[in-house]
């Protein structure tokens, strides 16, 4: 890569990033708090879809465990940022070292992400030996187990009541950098030798094995990387909603993130991004419809229908595994 090309590559990222900051500033000044919270949901969903795309899209490991990682990240972040006084009220049985601790938001998010990633490593070692739909089922099991454990681990999680009244720390200035970081890392991964390895694993396991690719390592790594960002997204989510309960991280949520990745095109970062935006906006648009006319469930029905139609008629989603031409080098 020549210096000139490196410059254009950098520009490709820096320019949109700068544009995003300007856009965020404009939105912040123009929009009210409610609409701004939707913008933040869009950002969180981008992080979720793009990070799941690392696991599901690029490596082809169909994981339904993403909300499980979100839950871990969310609870860790929430507990770390909770003021000591509230901890004493909510969680009187917390171990002393944790009870006195109050961390700033960003480090708390990082720790939350790391906990999720560490969990991914631990469960990945046994579970990633499974393939295809059995892996999907096992990760679904992981999700349910996380839910059950959180519900019952009262001394740390306050059980089914969850933690409420969390500080509303999640502003667009928190979300946007994480969105950009997720996109950047994901992009770097896709167009690196690791990314090519991942796609090789997805396309043809046998061939990848013959090339001496360490399949297992690649799989565990991609699961852990996806889990890290899911954990961060969980933390952001908790401090946007300002509450966290075990039932928030459900199979429906897993399904919704999968819909975003499939609709966007498994493997395409741009696709996941666009689908996440579309998904969030449409869900918000449906909410008044459901509430006004009492048509509860109509949003989910349409979402499921769209997914089935896409799986039948356009299994590659909007963009397949590709990225738009203007964003990639021809040889990239």
């Amino acid at each position: 890569m020549t210096a000139e090309r490196r410059n254009t590559a950098a520009l490709r990222f820096v320019l949109p990033a700068a544009a995003a900051f300007v856009l965020a500033y404009v939105l912040q000044t123009v929009l009210d708090d409610y609409v701004m919270s939707i913008v933040n949901f869009v950002g969180i969903n981008i992080i979720l879809a793009v990070s799941l795309n690392i696991t599901n899209g690029m490596t082809g490991l169909f994981s339904l465990g993403h909300p499980g990682f979100m839950a871990i990240g969310g609870y860790v972040t929430a507990i770390l940022t909770l003021p000591a006084a509230r901890k004493a009220m909510f969680l009187p049985d917390l171990p002393a070292w944790l009870a006195g601790l109050q961390a700033p938001f960003v480090p708390a998010l990082v720790v939350g992400g790391l906990c999720a990633a560490a969990t991914a490593l631990v469960i990945g070692l046994p579970v990633l030996r499974l393939k295809g739909h059995y892996l999907a089922v096992a990760t679904m099991g992981f999700l349910i187990i996380v839910q059950v454990l959180i519900t019952n681990w009262d001394s740390v999680t306050r059980g089914p009541l969850g933690l409420n009244g969390l500080a509303d720390l999640t502003t667009v200035w928190q979300v946007l950098p994480w969105v950009l970081l997720t996109l950047y890392v994901s992009w770097k991964v896709k167009f690196s030798s690791l990314g090519r390895t991942m796609i090789a694993v997805r396309e043809d396991e046998l061939a990848a094995q013959c090339l001496g690719v360490n399949l297992f390592f690649t799989r565990v790594l991609s699961l852990a990387l996806g889990a890290f960002f899911a954990g961060v997204a969980g933390g952001l989510w908790a401090h946007l909603v300002t509450a966290i309960t075990p039932s928030s991280f459900s199979l429906i949520m897993a399904f919704n993130i999968v819909v975003m990745v499939v609709v966007g095109g498994s493997g395409s970062i741009t696709g996941s991004l666009l689908a996440a935006v579309l998904f969030t906006v449409l869900t918000e648009a449906f909410r008044p419809l459901e509430e006004h006319y009492g048509l509860y469930g109509i949003g989910e029905i349409l979402m499921a229908l769209v997914l089935i139609l896409i799986l039948i008629y356009r299994p590659g989603g909007m963009l397949g595994t590709r990225e738009p031409r203007f964003l990639v080098d021809d040889d990239g």
Partner: protein, 298 residues
């Protein structure tokens, strides 16, 4: 905690197990023939339950007709699901089918909520079926006996159908090799449809039983029997009908004894236990107790 208590728990486990087994058979049949984990199978149970409610409490039909209606409703829903969602994507990777079945499941549940609201409804069987029978240390209702016996009868019927009839032979051949089955002149579309119809009919009637056993139904009730029967099918070896039956009874008994014999605190972890078992079985015993196809999971 005497012998009588344990005997009663075993009876409860057998009742629960017969329902799991019925649902698991359909699960296994569908998996066996097209290697599809049909997550929507449990929601057919829900539809069977609501159809029973409509025919029995609203239309007031006699019990036998209600049962026939539940079977038929299950079969129809199974056929619609196959034609609408799974046939158009046949040949796609397995996980695509699984994700689609998740979508179908979510669609059916939310259709239920949309049309019937999420409010649970009471399910009352005729008094004759509610009568309690005391047999020594154990007691159960007539309906429980009906559930156990009719489940057994249906199991025998299905096994005979698969083992002894031309259709059953075609199903087994199709399950082994789609292409070669076609070379024998078997219309695999019709055969696959028949497997969906039969399996889903059993799920439909299981819905009747579910309502009878628990007395309350709602649009989300399919989740639990769906998952449990999947676990039962995996325990027995997915694809094997006798395996599904065995797995159903084992799971029913294990679950009741687990909850009945351990301190109550553990029952909160029941779902975690069920799923933990599932993952462990997939990892260490992917063919279950009676399954045979090798090397597909690990």
């Amino acid at each position: 905690m005497g012998g009588g208590y344990i005997a009663q728990q075993i009876v409860n486990g057998l009742i629960l197990g017969s329902m799991y087994a019925l649902v698991a058979i359909g699960f296994s049949m569908i998996y066996g023939i097209i290697r599809l984990i049909n997550f929507a199978h449990g929601d057919v149970v829900m539809i069977g339950a609501f159809v029973t409610l409509a025919l029995m409490q609203v239309a007031g039909l006699p019990f036998v007709l209600v049962a026939a209606g539940a079977l038929a409703a299950g079969a129809v829903v199974g056929v619609l699901i196959e034609r609408g969602a799974f046939r158009p994507m046949r040949g796609a990777p397995q996980v695509t089918g699984f994700i689609a079945s998740l979508a179908v499941s979510i669609m059916l549940q939310n259709l239920g909520i949309l049309l019937l609201t999420a409010q649970p409804r009471n399910f009352t069987f005729p008094a004759a079926l509610q009568k309690v029978i005391n047999a020594g240390p154990v007691s159960f209702r007539v309906i429980d006996l009906v559930i156990m016996l009719s489940a057994l009868g249906l199991m025998v019927l299905v096994m005979l159908l698969v083992k002894r009839t031309r259709l059953g032979m075609a199903m087994r051949a199709t399950a082994e090799n789609l292409d070669v089955a076609r070379l024998m002149g078997i219309n695999i579309n019709r055969t696959i449809l028949a497997a969906f119809a039969m399996g889903s009919a059993l799920a439909g009637i299981a819905g009747l039983m579910w309502g009878g056993k628990f007395g309350q139904i709602d649009p989300l009730l399919g989740y639990v029997p769906g998952l449990k029967s999947f676990v039962a099918a995996v325990i027995g070896g997915v694809g094997s009908i006798p395996g599904a039956i065995l797995g159903g009874y084992i799971l029913g008994l294990a679950e009741v004894l687990f909850v009945g014999l351990l301190p109550p605190i553990y029952s909160a972890y029941r779902d975690a236990f069920v799923f933990g078992t599932l993952i462990v079985i997939l990892l260490i015993m992917p063919n279950g107790l009676l399954g045979s196809d090798k090397g597909e999971r690990a």
